[in-house]
């Protein structure tokens, strides 16, 4: 292997790593706040990418209908639980929150599907369209079982993934799509080595978004509430943080991240209805390296996964995924040797 080849592989790996980084951040965020390993994360990214592709081919993405149906389900769940608790006076607010709010991106997307709309609007709308998906799913599926064990939550989450990828197949068909590149710029570094603008964009987006995350967690009340919930759910509740609200915030942020991932990678890889799963799986490896709690370690893990994947595909294309997922074994062994057994937080919630 020459230095040129190694450099190309490293760039390719970093670009993929940037995507895993964003996905990993989303996974860690949701897990630390709600103890849910959110498997459908990647599916939401695929929905964003395929919706964008649908816009580009002049079709109305079926995602709109899905979001609308989910919103109706969530609204029904919410009204049902309000009525059961005898809080009927709060129904108008629930309608606004669960009915009107998710409908806004649907209407925007429906308008954007008309001919002559600029690409930038399509991208923005494709991202916005998937933002309500995770919070709505959470309201319908996870909120009623929020105190269940991690294993139950994981199983439900896995079932949701199969549901979403099935819907993806129904909506977008078995064949993949690519969208037009966001930028066609090519940067030439010394020695004839080139980096495409798209890669710079992906790495840049990862850096900027993780920076924003850091600021939100350190400087805003909402961010501090998220951190507090992550550290100790019961303690957070005692100081007046509502876990339901922080959970929804976490799902919303993660959904936004997934949407951004979708539009960032749609031009460089062919996206299929089930492409999201493998992205989510590799982000999960990164998140495990970070112990599902540490954002910086997840970032390092994500870049490592990206680079290892890239080199593995050079050495042995057929064994690439085997090599990447084998990373889990030493990491888990190391963690179980080094980490002292932490307190079982779920017990506190159950009691």
């Amino acid at each position: 292997m020459t230095w040129d080849v190694a450099l190309i592989l490293i760039t390719d790996g970093l670009a993929n790593g940037a995507v895993y980084l964003l996905a990993g951040l989303g996974l860690v965020l949701i897990f630390s706040v709600t103890r849910v390993v959110f498997v459908p994360f990647g599916d939401i990214a695929a929905f964003a990418a395929l919706s964008l592709a649908a816009f580009e081919t002049g079709r109305v993405p079926a995602t709109i209908g899905m979001v609308a149906v989910l919103a109706a389900l969530a609204l029904a769940t919410e009204i049902g639980s309000l009525l059961r608790r005898g809080e009927g006076s709060r129904i108008p607010k629930a309608v606004l929150m669960w009915g009107v709010l998710p409908a806004i991106p649907c209407v925007l997307a429906w308008l954007a599907a008309r001919p002559g709309v600029p690409v930038a609007v399509h991208i923005a709308v494709a991202v916005l369209l998937v933002v309500p998906i995770a919070p709505l799913l959470a309201r319908v599926v996870f909120q009623p079982i929020a105190d269940a064990s991690v294993l139950v939550l994981l199983i439900v989450s896995l079932a949701l993934h199969f549901l979403l990828s099935g819907l993806g197949l129904l909506f977008f068909g078995p064949e993949g799509s690519r969208t037009t590149p966001l930028t066609s710029a090519v940067f030439t570094l010394g020695g004839g080595f080139t980096v495409s603008g798209q890669v710079v964009l992906m790495v840049g987006a990862a850096i900027v978004l993780s920076g924003l995350f850091f600021l939100v967690f350190e400087r805003t009340v909402a961010g501090k509430a998220l951190r507090a919930t992550a550290v100790n759910r019961v303690g957070a509740r005692l100081v007046g943080i509502r876990p339901v609200r922080t959970a929804l915030l976490a799902y919303g942020c993660a959904s936004l991240l997934a949407g951004l991932i979708g539009v960032l990678i749609a031009p460089v890889t062919t996206m299929y209805y089930d492409s999201g799963f493998i992205i989510g799986l590799k982000a999960f490896v990164a998140a495990i390296i970070g112990g599902l709690v540490s954002y910086p370690m997840t970032a390092v893990g994500a870049l490592a996964v990206g680079v290892v994947e890239s080199f593995a595909s050079f050495w042995s294309g057929a064994m690439k995924d085997v090599i990447v997922f084998s990373l889990l074994i030493p990491v888990l062994m190391l963690r179980s040797f080094m980490v002292t057994h932490s307190e079982e937080e779920e017990d506190e919630v159950d009691q």
């Binding site: 020459t2 080849v5 190309i8 592989l9 390719d12 993929n16 079709r59 109305v60 079926a62 709109i64 209908g65 197949l169 129904l170 909506f171 977008f172 068909g173 078995p174 064949e175 993949g176 799509s177 690519r178 495409s196 990678i265 460089v268 890889t269 062919t270 299929y272 089930d274 492409s275 493998i278 992205i279 890239s310 080199f311 593995a312 595909s313 050079f314 050495w315 294309g317 057929a318 690439k320 995924d321």
Partner: protein, 387 residues
């Protein structure tokens, strides 16, 4: 919502097809049972198969003055359902011949039922079976080796001495690689790499870098459908200047859409029906292919853009030819007729179809020769005959 409409249309299509079949149940003498994937992941192939069969029915609705009844069932892209459909077609509908389906495993499941019930089956996909073990099945699809041989011949003509291979990690990648390895030495071509990738992979940069570093004169790809576009895109990105060759798994409008400019000038083999208008006038399959285009347009109100509907059409032609001979020996609807039909199909001689000229022999699944393949070039999103 368009997808939903599409599914409803497909459902309606399936219902309509079945209804047509039921309506003519008393008038018909010969019965053809078709099981295809009108729903599920294979439906992008199954729907054209069904449409092609409707065109065939309109083209040749009678054999020796007797009406033919077509019964269509949906297998939902599932081999188990395909097997059950085959059983239903044979036991309840008492069909004389089975045809199907859009997936190789499902077609094998059907063929097993056909063998048990002693009913001949005309496969529409390249079925992988030992013909000596199941003497009731044959297929109108081209064998992989025949197609890859054409690619290798073309490489030889283009003075290719070394070729890099990149294909799927699955059975299709193996099939293409094995066929390439079998054909290449005879043409004095050396295969220098065997890189693989999974259908779901996001990038093949690593594999392509390795191939480019070996500096082969050409690259052969062993993929299918939209994932098959990945090596073309990666090779273009790395500035590879040699020729890139594909195979018939890539003749698909979705592949053309995804590969875009990276597929420019790529060469691949296919059945001649894809470029029927561009064939020289003397080409044996030109007339029937043009007829097929016309009848398909009339029946389905849309032009053909795929190879699958043409396989259905050819299956029907092979059946019609064999049935007209078998009817002299036995009465349709009886076990004797099914045996006679099987023997007649296996003695098919020079039946001209849209994909090729069919001559079946016992002990062989396939019935086509060199006339069933042409090399086409992808030129600005259009398939052009590359003579």
């Amino acid at each position: 919502m368009k997808s939903l409409m599409l599914i409803l249309t497909r459902g309606a299509l399936a219902a309509a097809l079945t209804a047509c079949g039921v309506a003519s149940v008393f008038a018909a003498d010969l019965k053809v049972g078709l099981s295809v994937s009108l729903s599920g992941p294979n439906s992008s192939l199954g729907v054209p198969y069904a449409k092609g069969m409707q065109a065939a029915l309109a083209y040749k609705p009678e054999i020796n003055g007797r009406k033919v009844q077509l019964i269509v069932l949906d297998d939902g892209s599932d081999p188990t359902t395909a097997g059950r459909n085959a059983r239903k077609l044979i036991e309840e509908d008492k069909v004389d011949v089975l045809m199907g389906t859009s997936g190789v495993p499902a077609a094998i499941a059907m063929a097993q039922v056909g063998k048990e019930a002693k009913t001949p089956m005309i496969g529409l996909t390249p079925i992988l079976l030992d013909p000596n073990e199941n003497p009731w099945v044959m297929t109108v699809a081209q064998p992989t080796q025949l197609m890859i041989d054409a690619v290798v011949e073309r490489m030889k003509r283009n003075n290719v001495k070394t070729v890099g291979y990149i294909g799927f990690t699955d059975a299709w990648g193996d099939l293409v690689y094995d066929a390439l390895m079998k054909a290449a030495p005879g043409a004095g071509i050396k295969v220098v790499s065997n890189e693989r990738y999974a259908r779901a992979d996001a990038s093949v940069t690593g594999q392509v870098l390795k191939i480019v570093a070996l500096r082969p004169d050409a690259v052969m790809t062993g993929g299918a459908g939209t994932p098959g576009a990945l090596p073309f895109l990666a090779l273009q990105e790395r500035g590879y200047k040699g020729g890139v060759y594909g195979q018939h798994g890539l003749i698909n409008p979705d592949f053309v859409r995804v590969v875009g400019a990276a597929g420019q000038n790529a060469l691949m083999p296919t059945g001649p029906v894809i470029v029927a208008e561009q064939l020289p006038d003397g080409y044996p399959t030109k007339k029937i292919a043009t007829d097929f285009r016309a009848v398909f347009q009339k029946v389905n109100n849309a032009p053909t853009s795929d190879a699958f509907s043409a396989y259905s059409f050819d299956g029907w032609l092979v059946f019609a030819d064999a049935a007209s001979r078998a009817m002299k020996k036995a009465e349709p609807g009886t076990a004797e007729f099914r045996v006679a039909l099987r023997d007649a199909i296996f003695s098919t001689k020079e039946v001209v179809g849209t994909h090729g000229v069919y001559t079946f022999k016992p002990g062989s699944l396939y019935g086509v020769d060199e006339r069933a393949r042409v090399i086409v070039k992808l030129d600005n999103g259009q398939w052009k005959l590359a003579p």
